[in-house]
């Protein structure tokens, strides 16, 4: 095998995330490329959650496939929820003691899903128990089922490590790791290495987990062999990072010189602030190189306004949020626009409207981020397509904010925030820190909003005297309602966007992945990049020449480049791919270029776009459909 896709499912809080980390570290250490997405309910303990991964021996994958080849179930709900997620001929690891469970024994499962399954089971002749379901997938879907007795294993281990069985039960996720590691032939020393990394400060945990994993590992290979062994990896890396989207943005902010971050807790943004806070003291070889204030505020309004206050003293400041939080921040956004304050807002989109699907993904906030707040003022909106882009874009967000003295909204989404990937360590040699017209000392009278230049010199609070106001102001920053002044100030602010449009290379704002003779143009933005890029290869194998236009900045919009690209393709061969209902990026393209994209593939059920469903959808579009709504994912 060259690649393996798998799902590990279980109740929230049962150690899934730890299992995923141990496996990811071990597989990365074995030289493979991995991407893992975590799907979960807005719940702390008990609701169904799962890790969905793709491991590859030939590439660093950027998307997931569905259905998968391996499912490991910590509980019986996983079997019910995911039996359809398994390919014919796949492998199912499960607890044999759950065989008597039925749908009625599953209070954590949503009634609508149960009803859907009940009618499906009726058609398939399944009586609603795990036992008959297992029989079905074994006989009809030719799935290799691997029943393990979790209770027995735990009992056996608790004797070995002298731990009460009740406590040993906490290690049930290690049974699954042991089984997967055995089937995949992951070297035991790599698992041990991962355990040591994960639990460096808790030696007894390393020991206990190791005992269980090894025991299950041995049992599994004795009976099933290395059934899911991947080929030796062809990837030739010597080091890799294993990071989530939240992690890379935190790293980007730290490298980019962030000194003040404020936030109000919200999924899926809050982890980023936690990571930054763990680096509040920046030390290298015992030498202080800086420090970062991270503050949890009383609400999102205080998060953005305090960060704006901090920027006025010259520090790089930001806040991170998601839709419901950004809704509250909008008043602050307008003030920053009026006062040319270089605030960076990291915006992780999730399923809306309102609180929507708090833990599920979406790209539904593009139009909101572009138009939020009353009146007109410049803003820069950039959107990252993958983890590496997110890292560099984070640094650039601060540069652009300071160069153009304007708010910058950095759009990301839940899919990126919560997916963990293997990633090359970024190279910082061409990374710059540009502080724009920031001045340290001022001589003579200072005008914060000097009209003699399109972008005024920016002195900071503490260096001289200046005024700011949310009302229209004169050059000194005092309230001024004079009509002529109003017109000059208004124009000055908005023309900064024109300057940014002239200065920021369009190649930086939009990328084309493809070749001269492509016939099909896929258009997308944000985290759909990964799955679209993988799709190009598959289409190419089928003899379909397709390229991908990836938009990375929506304000200022790279109109010229996009227009030229779109004009090269036949109208019916241009397809927008987006995680929203309206095809919002296509709307923005229409506004900016006059070209209307007529075909789209969209998904708005909160789950990521999977590779195989996208390929199928594009084929359907090429056969004449105008719009395909993707629906995969439990």
């Amino acid at each position: 095998m060259k690649e393996l896709s798998l799902i590990i499912g279980g109740p929230q809080g049962a150690g899934l995330e730890t299992s995923a980390q141990i496996l990811t570290y071990s597989l990365a250490y074995s030289g493979y490329g991995i991407i893992s997405d975590r799907e979960y309910f807005s719940n702390i303990k008990g609701r169904h959650s799962y890790i969905h991964s793709l491991v590859s021996s030939k590439r660093i994958p950027s998307s997931l496939t569905y259905p998968v080849q391996l499912i490991a179930a910590l509980d019986h709900e996983t079997i019910f929820t995911h039996f359809n997620s398994l390919e014919d001929g796949g492998v199912m690891i499960y607890d044999v003691l759950t065989e008597d469970k039925t749908l009625d024994d599953t209070p954590s499962m949503e009634e609508s899903l149960k009803n859907k399954l009940r009618s499906e089971f009726k058609l398939l002749g399944i009586d609603g128990s795990i036992k008959s379901l297992i029989k079905y997938i074994k006989n009809i879907k030719k799935v290799e089922t691997i029943p393990l007795n979790y209770f027995e294993i735990i009992n056996e281990v608790s004797k070995k490590i002298a731990l009460p069985a009740s406590q040993a039960a906490r290690y049930v996720s290690s049974i699954v790791i042991g089984a997967i590691a055995g089937l995949m032939n992951i070297k035991k020393k790599y698992i041990e290495y991962s355990l040591t990394r994960r639990f460096s400060d808790k030696p007894e945990l390393i020991q206990h987990n190791k005992t269980i994993i090894n025991m299950v590992y041995n049992k599994i290979i004795e009976k099933y062999g290395y059934k899911l062994e991947l080929e030796q990896s062809k990837l030739k890396y010597r080091e890799l990072m294993i990071v989530s989207g939240n992690d890379v943005v935190a790293m980007g902010k730290i490298v980019g010189g962030l000194r003040y971050q404020s936030y109000y807790p919200i999924t899926p943004a809050a982890d980023e602030s936690f990571t930054i806070e763990s680096y509040e003291k920046l030390k290298v070889n015992d030498k202080d190189i800086g420090s970062i204030i991270v503050i949890q505020t009383e609400d999102e309004i205080a998060a953005i306004t305090s960060a704006i206050g901090a920027t006025l003293t010259g520090v790089r400041a930001s806040t991170s949020t998601s839709g419901p939080g950004f809704s509250l921040m909008v008043e602050g956004l307008g003030w920053a626009g009026m006062n040319e304050a270089p605030i960076v807002i990291t915006y992780y989109q999730r399923g809306g409207p309102s609180t929507g699907l708090p833990t599920r993904g979406s790209q539904g906030d593009l139009l909101f981020s572009l138009y939020a707040s009353h009146g007109e003022f410049p803003r820069i909106v950039l959107a990252s397509g993958d983890h590496l882009e997110a890292f560099y874009d984070t640094i650039e967000a601060f540069n652009l904010a300071e160069k153009y003295q304007t708010p910058v909204i950095h759009l990301l989404d839940k899919f990126l925030a919560n997916s963990i990937v293997t990633l090359n360590v970024p190279n910082l040699s061409s990374t710059t820190i540009e502080r724009g017209a920031l001045i340290e000392k001022v001589s003579g009278e200072y005008k914060r909003f000097d009209l003699s230049k399109p972008i005024s010199l920016r002195a900071v609070l503490g260096a001289t005297i200046m005024w700011y106001t949310g009302d229209e102001h004169n050059e000194l920053g005092h309230i001024n309602e004079d009509s002529e002044n109003r017109e000059k100030m208004y124009r000055k602010r908005l023309e900064k966007l024109k300057i940014a449009n002239e200065e920021i290379p369009e190649e930086r704002r939009v990328s084309y992945y493809g070749s001269e003779d492509d016939e099909i143009l896929l258009v997308g933005w944000g985290f759909t990049k990964g799955v679209v890029m993988d799709t190009l290869n598959i289409l190419n194998d089928k003899g379909i020449k397709a390229g991908y236009l990836h938009i990375r900045m929506f304000s200022p919009f790279p109109s010229k480049f996009v227009k030229e690209m779109l004009n090269k393709f036949e109208e019916n061969n241009i397809i927008a791919i987006e995680h929203n209902y309206l095809a919002q990026a296509a709307e923005i393209i229409h506004i900016n270029t006059g070209i209307k994209i007529k075909k789209n593939v969209i998904k708005y059920n909160g789950r990521p776009i999977y590779l195989n469903e996208l390929v199928e959808a594009i084929l359907r579009i090429l056969e004449g459909e105008d719009r395909v709504v993707l629906k995969y994912g439990p």
């Binding site: 030289g31 920046l282 190189i289 609400d299 205080a302 206050g309 003293t313 710059t432 001289t464 005297i465």
Partner: protein, 312 residues
């Protein structure tokens, strides 16, 4: 050479209504700033919205006139990024105790070294006289069509409950007295509130100069001692100050209600964690060298070592 009072006056015409109580606050501000000889470039007045919101424009130090209710978080960001600055909030009762009440409470919890001069006139002046959170129930200032149906919040009691470590009340027509309170509040290390009774001559026909003249008396003229002299006294002093804060109607005390010098300021709490914070705060740090991040490839690997897997 010490700065003069006039050095703190800006050129902007003060467009409050003639006779507005805010003039007394402004006069007290000029005097307090000049007597403390505060450096204009290192002093910031932050305000919200309303008549009080315009205050920073009239004073020749840095002025940040922000959003309705948000003066406190703006001020917090400024102060925490650069704790060497003196940051004073001048804002109204509607602003700080209505729309901004959450921030008002949060400041007490944090005890950031910020000073609030609360322009307290019981009405929303700039939107033509609606009831503010400090207007008592059943009162009907002339702009209201019906008597006020909501109860009043007591700023002194709320500040006590929130954790402010300096709490005082002044009266805008007693400029010298108010000036002393403002000076003390600025000099206090921690969250400070000066609730300033300030007649709105246009919309509030109840709380007039006559009204206050009959009721206002100075706490220092009695045997009142607001200061927590040792931490063990805190509880007793809070209770006493609370009781005093309820004297709110027929007789109105002004002066310092409560002062506790023993609670760590937020800046000190940060310094406990980041021990270089006070001497080298964020605003004083360098983040680049010759246009490059100070974190280069080598330091990146050192800092983020825990994310990197090396394969031998």
């Amino acid at each position: 050479m010490a700065r003069k009072l006039t050095d703190y006056q800006s050129d902007v015409w003060v467009d409050w209504c003639p006779g507005c109580g805010n003039f007394g606050i402004l006069a007290s501000m000029y005097r307090a700033l000049s007597e403390l000889d505060l450096k204009p470039e290192e002093t910031i007045i932050v305000s919200g919205i309303g008549c009080s919101g315009k205050t920073p424009h009239f004073i020749k130090v840095n002025g940040v006139h922000t959003l309705h209710g948000r003066a406190i978080p703006f001020a917090m960001g400024i102060k925490l990024a650069n704790p060497k600055l003196t940051v004073i909030i001048n804002s109204g009762d509607g602003d700080l105790l209505g729309i901004g009440a959450g921030h008002f409470v949060a400041l007490g919890r944090r005890n950031i070294d910020l000073t609030i001069i609360l322009h307290d006139n019981t009405v929303y002046g700039l939107t033509k006289g609606q009831a503010s959170p400090t207007l008592k129930r059943k009162l009907k200032p002339k702009a209201l069509p019906k008597p006020n149906i909501q109860d009043a919040v007591n700023p002194i009691a709320l500040a006590l409950a929130s954790g402010y470590t300096f709490i005082a009340r002044g009266y805008s027509m007693m400029v010298d007295h108010l000036k002393e309170l403002i000076k003390k509040s600025i000099q206090h290390k921690g969250a400070a509130l000066v609730d300033v009774l300030q007649p709105c001559v246009t919309y509030d026909n109840i709380h007039t100069i006559e009204y206050y003249k009959k009721r206002v008396y100075k706490l220092e003229d009695s045997d009142w001692n607001p200061i927590v002299d040792k931490p063990e006294e805190r509880e007793e002093k809070i209770i006493k100050a609370w009781i005093k804060s309820q004297e709110y109607d027929e007789k109105i005390p002004i002066g310092v209600f409560y002062q506790d010098p023993y609670i760590d300021s937020f800046e000190e709490r940060i310094n406990e964690r980041i021990n270089t914070y006070l001497e080298n705060p964020p605003a004083k740090q360098k983040i680049e060298q010759n246009g490059k991040p100070i974190i280069n490839n080598e330091t990146f690997r050192k800092i983020f070592n825990q994310y990197i897997i090396k394969i031998e």
